[in-house]
């Protein structure tokens, strides 16, 4: 077993073993420390994954997926299932982001455990969620992908139902049932593909693998619907505001930061890759829905009156930009989608941390009851301002590249439909600015409300530690987008190559 293969296994095994250990250790604090250490080790394990074989030196046509490292073992020979993992420029940034956000959430839990249950149970569940998400990003076997995709669901349900807000049970139920509905479609889609192609290997499948046009259309429809629920794409988004609003802070961060990315990643890697003809056929519909999501998401935010709910709805708009990028099926658009994914994970993760901090301190999330934060807690207000400005896509910060270049990609696609979509998406960008400035005006400006007036100005060290990496990443990715896209152009070009 080579070092890269060892890392691939380790990245999944360490959080899994960590979860078991956390569940086994009795003292709550020790267990949480162990969990945080496991998350840290996982992050350390993901970083050297980038150091693999990046070029294509073989003979013959260039394959559409060329993992830097891969591990391909028989798993259930009777069913022809394989344990096939791999990582490349499309999945690696997401893998690192997942490991980072999980570490930050575990570290945050060392400092504060939300009401509802024991801290170690929460940490163990976070680690299980991490295993599922990492597995989804690493799997190169369609059935394995589906299994990891499903692993995430139940622990996340428990996190929301166990540690969430007042209306947590209803929100958790809605989340679980809605996304289960998506999973059923995914399962059917996976078996349509596997039955028709006779293999579940994503490397072989990418590019169509001789699937008939009809199969591709059916497979793309099923897969795209399944991923659209997860992403979420309007009008399949309505589980999201409830789940994000009711989840505890760490749950919201994981949900918005990386869980949604499973949908967009699946769309790029599985749906578009496996059924390119279906993707070409459905692209206009996908584009129209994506732009609708941008506009409706922004407009709803403009009329929203609860802090976490507003941020949750903002995800609908931002993921709309990502999906627009994918829908253009151009190299520019898919790269924009990749960096948009990462930027949204970093920035919205930060926003949910900050919203959680505001809510924990003031015990309210109603915008009308919040005002004057900059008077009593200038640092918190400053960070909230930074996150909001980053989220509205200010050039120079991470959010800009994904949104601006989704528009550029639509312009590049040309023609009446895509040009119109580009214009509408750009208008959506202005609406995004409008609702974030409205948020800042209500929360940070003006005279302190009674809830805000009694705040202490300081921030806890644990909070700063959890937030600082996200702030720095939002700045770094904005100034040096090559951090995310540096390795992506090869895999994306290969993927776009099979689309033609």
């Amino acid at each position: 077993m080579r070092f890269g293969q060892f890392l691939l296994v380790a990245v999944l095994a360490v959080p899994a073993l960590g979860a078991v250990a956390v569940a086994a250790i009795r003292p709550d604090r020790v267990a949480r420390v162990v969990g945080t250490v496991a998350a840290a080790l996982t992050l350390l394990g993901t970083l050297p994954l980038a150091g693999g074989d990046h070029g294509w030196f073989g003979y013959g046509p260039r394959p559409a997926v060329q993992p830097w490292h891969q591990l391909d073992l028989p798993w259930v020979p009777g069913l022809d299932l394989r344990f096939h993992l791999g990582v490349d420029g499309i999945s690696w940034p997401l893998v690192v982001l997942t490991a980072l956000l999980t570490l930050l959430c575990c570290g945050y839990t060392l400092w504060r455990v939300p009401d509802g249950g024991s801290g170690r149970a929460l940490v163990a569940l976070l680690l299980v969620v991490e295993v599922g998400i990492l597995g989804t990003f690493l799997a190169l076997d369609l059935v394995l992908f589906f299994l990891f995709f499903e692993v995430v669901l139940l622990p996340m349900y428990v996190i929301i139902a166990g540690w969430g807000g007042d209306d947590r049970r209803r929100a958790a139920r809605k989340f679980a049932l809605y996304t289960l509905f998506g999973s059923v479609l995914l399962l059917v889609g996976v078996y349509v593909v596997v039955a028709a192609a006779g293999t579940a290997d994503l490397v072989t499948l990418t590019g169509g693998a001789g699937l008939s046009r009809g199969t591709q259309l059916a497979a793309f429809t099923l897969l795209a619907l399944a991923f659209a629920v997860k992403s979420p794409l309007w009008p399949l988004h309505s589980w999201l505001p409830d789940a994000h609003t009711q989840a505890p802070t760490v749950g919201s961060v994981i949900l918005a930061g990386v869980l949604l990315k499973m949908g967009t990643y699946g769309l790029i890697r599985v749906a578009v890759g496996v059924a390119p003809e279906g993707a070409r056929w459905a692209a206009p519909v996908l584009g129209v829905l994506a732009v609708t999501a941008i506009l409706i998401g922004s407009l709803v935010c403009l009329a929203q009156d609860e802090l976490k709910r507003l941020i949750a709805y903002s995800s609908v708009g931002h993921m709309g930009f990502v999906l627009l990028g994918v829908a253009t099926l151009t190299a520019t658009g898919i790269q924009a989608a990749l960096i948009g994914n990462i930027a949204h994970g970093v920035i919205t993760g930060l926003l949910f941390f900050l919203a959680g901090a505001v809510k924990d301190r003031t015990h309210t999330g109603t915008l009308a009851e919040l005002s004057g934060l900059r008077e009593t807690a200038p640092r918190l207000a400053g960070l909230l301002g930074f996150a909001a400005v980053a989220s509205l896509g200010l050039p120079g910060l991470a959010g800009f590249w994904g949104e601006a270049f989704a528009v550029v990609a639509a312009v590049r696609r040309g023609g009446g439909l895509w040009t119109t979509l580009a214009v509408l998406a750009a208008i959506g960008g202005a609406l995004t600015a409008a609702y974030f400035l409205r948020l800042l005006r209500q929360v940070t400006h003006g005279r302190p409300s009674s809830a805000v007036g009694r705040l202490a100005p300081g921030l806890a060290g644990a909070e700063l530690t959890a937030w600082a990496p996200l702030v720095l990443l939002a700045l770094a990715v904005g100034l040096a987008p090559a951090l995310v896209l540096g390795y992506a152009s090869g895999p994306v070009d290969a993927l776009v190559g099979v689309l033609r």
Binding site: P395, G396, A404, V411, P457
Partner: protein
């Protein structure tokens, strides 16, 4: 083509880099919340040093470049490649760029120094005006850095970065003063109105970049775009320019932005933000030259803005608002010059405007600082008590109105001469009627400008004081010196047109390939000079005569029924509110209701229906024995019947 700067190349990134570093470090300083014992705490001192050092460093770099750069130099490195679209990180410097950079750094330095005195708690202030100095100074530094990025950018995406960062800095700084309840709304308005324009700007850049396959300005200018693309892209860019440079119909944010501290007004109006739009068009002028439709639109916009701003300035009582509307009007002169194909005249006016408008705002700040109000109806007679401020304001107003030999006279004359040539001889790339429009609007504007400048001077500094209790005095050194030093370029910059090194730099061709084919002479001495002079005297004379009749009353009373219309700037704010803001908020509420009741209602409804259906079926199955037995027997009968029928059929 272009050559590098050789050993000086490493120097260029320092131009925005120094203020950027000062700004980023400044943001990390403790923001000194309420309760900081005195205004002179350590964080404030560090913030002052950082702010001044950043601006001074940028100025030194700009001056060094000014001595070296007299031709086009470029340098770039790849930033990121998005699916074959190259985005580069690079500079593109020519004489104009370094001149504008010098102006930006000068004004920024003046503003940083001035703010030390302006944002300090005086002995009689009951509120702490300065209790968040570190973020304030840091934001000015960032603002400066962003504008310098726009000035030197060699890539459209890089230009967009500076362009938008400026927007957010203006938002933060306008909202700085927490004593003004209207400040947050004004800040939001400033950012949103410009952001609406930037929708077009982004799309324009996207069109150009996609057409040229690169966002590098040199590539975009060199590429042979199709006419349709070019016209569409230029028109879209103009939307962004209208937002940033406060051109009709996106000018509404600028007067409200007066809620920001006065030094910030100077920064926004003189060298950054509003200048950016004009500069961007001048930078991309070879494209606009090939898109006469865009130039015609620009000309109409310019003429409307020029007169709208000037007329609105006549009826304001707030001294800062007079100056704000005068900026709107003066930027109209610049865009007018661009529209008739004279970017050199536009840039010359941009530079002289930067000098005299910074001077006017800082002098107005001194007045406001001394009398504690911005309303001219509560000023008057300050000439005796504030002589330095008076003379500086006189220089600034003279330059604004175009009084020879002050700077504004020469630069405005350049604009009018270019418009006259376009109108009478059909010179330049724009249609002839655009020339007429700009020329006539410009001439009328001269008279109106002279009128309101005279009114401002008389109402503020002459007559008797209208607040007898105050004891106004000239400002302390940190505020006085910037004003005095800015008076020098405001007075003399026009004469620089006769100095060859300056004239060569400002009229350098925009691309290396392009020859000096348009009119580049900066100064136009001739009989045409007399017409604006006569108009100036008429405007000033009418205002003076009105004031002489009753020195206490406002000369604006002669506007009669037009006065409230002008004072509210033709109620365009209300129009914008009715046509844009209210429909958008209504749409937002409708979208929210539709989303919650419609889309989510369907989901919830499905869930409830499933539960209801299950409940109903369960209830049906919970039957007493007789009915259950009857049901079972009926079922058996049905099955038997079906078997018999189907079996019989086959």
């Amino acid at each position: 083509m272009s050559e590098g700067l050789g050993r000086l190349a490493w120097f260029v990134p320092l131009l925005p880099g120094l203020p950027l570093a000062a700004g980023l470090i400044g943001l990390l300083l403790p923001p000194s919340p309420r309760g900081a014992a005195t205004g002179e705490d350590r964080a404030r001192k560090v913030a002052i040093v950082l702010g001044v050092a950043g601006a001074a460093g940028a100025l030194l770099v700009a001056l060094a470049l000014l001595s070296r750069v007299d031709h086009l130099v470029e340098g770039s490195t790849s930033w990121v490649d998005l699916g074959g679209l190259q985005v580069t990180l690079g500079y593109r410097l020519d004489g104009v760029a370094v001149l504008v950079a010098t102006a930006v750094a000068t004004v920024a330095l003046a503003v940083q120094v001035y703010s030390i005195g302006y944002l300090r708690r005086g002995p009689h202030d009951d509120v702490e005006v300065d209790h968040r100095y570190p973020p304030y100074a840091a934001q000015i530094s960032l603002f400066t850095a962003a504008m310098l990025v726009v000035v030197i950018a060699g890539d459209l995406i890089m230009l967009l970065v500076g362009w938008e960062v400026m927007g957010i800095c203006s938002y933060l700084l306008i909202a700085h003063d927490r004593r003004l309840p209207e400040a947050p709304a004004a800040a939001v308005k400033a950012f949103l109105v410009t952001r609406v324009g930037d929708v077009g700007f982004l799309l324009g850049i996207a069109l150009l970049g996609v057409s040229a396959g690169s966002f590098k300005i040199a590539d975009v200018l060199a590429h042979d775009h199709s006419t349709g693309t070019l016209t569409a892209a230029c028109l879209l860019l103009l939307a962004g320019v209208a937002g940033k440079s406060a051109q009709f119909p996106l000018h509404t944010w600028l007067p409200d932005a007066m809620a920001g501290p006065t030094p910030i007004s100077a920064l926004i109006h003189a060298a950054t933000m509003v200048a950016a739009g004009v500069y961007a068009v001048a930078r991309l002028f070879p494209l606009f030259e090939r898109a006469p439709v865009a130039l015609a639109v620009l000309g109409v916009m310019a003429a409307i803005t020029l007169l709208l701003g000037a007329l609105a300035a006549t009826a304001q009582d707030d001294i800062k608002r007079v100056l704000a509307w005068s900026t709107v009007s003066q930027i109209g002169y610049m865009t007018g010059a661009l529209a008739v194909g004279a970017p050199t005249a536009a840039l010359f006016h941009l530079l002289s405007h930067a000098a005299f408008k910074a001077l006017l705002f800082l002098a107005a700040g001194a007045v406001i600082h001394a009398v504690g109000t911005t309303l001219m109806s509560r000023m008057g007679g300050l000439r005796a008590t504030m002589p330095v401020t008076f003379w500086c304001t006189l220089v600034g107003l003279g330059a604004l109105a175009g009084l020879p030999p002050l700077s504004g006279f020469w630069s405005k004359d350049g604009v009018l001469a270019a418009a006259e040539a376009a109108a009478l001889d059909g010179a330049g790339p724009a249609p002839q009627w655009v020339g007429w429009l700009v020329w006539l609007a410009g001439l009328l504007g001269v008279a109106v400008t002279a009128w309101y400048a005279t009114r401002l001077l008389l109402r503020t500094f002459f007559g008797t004081t209208r607040i007898p209790l105050a004891h106004p005095h000239d400002p302390p050194g940190s505020m006085r010196w910037p004003v005095l030093l800015l008076a020098v370029p405001a007075a003399l910059l026009g004469l620089a047109a006769f100095w060859p090194p300056f004239a060569d730099r400002i009229s350098a061709p925009i691309t290396a390939a392009e020859g000096n084919d348009f009119d580049v002479s900066l100064v136009h001495l001739g009989p045409a000079l007399l017409l604006p002079l006569v108009l100036l005297l008429v405007g000033a004379g009418v205002a003076g005569a009105g004031w002489r009749r009753d020195p206490v009353a406002d000369p604006a009373r002669f506007l009669g029924p037009l006065r409230p219309v002008f004072a509210r700037a033709f109620r365009l704010d209300d129009v914008q509110h009715t046509l844009v803001v209210r429909p958008t908020t209504a749409l937002a509420r409708a979208a929210r209701t539709g989303d919650e009741l419609g889309v989510d209602g369907l989901v919830e409804g499905t869930g409830r229906a499933a539960v209801g259906l299950g409940g109903g079926l369960a209830a049906l199955h919970r039957a007493a024995l007789p009915r259950a037995a009857a049901g079972v027997l009926a079922g058996a009968l049905l099955i038997g019947l079906a078997v018999a029928l189907i079996g019989g059929a086959s």
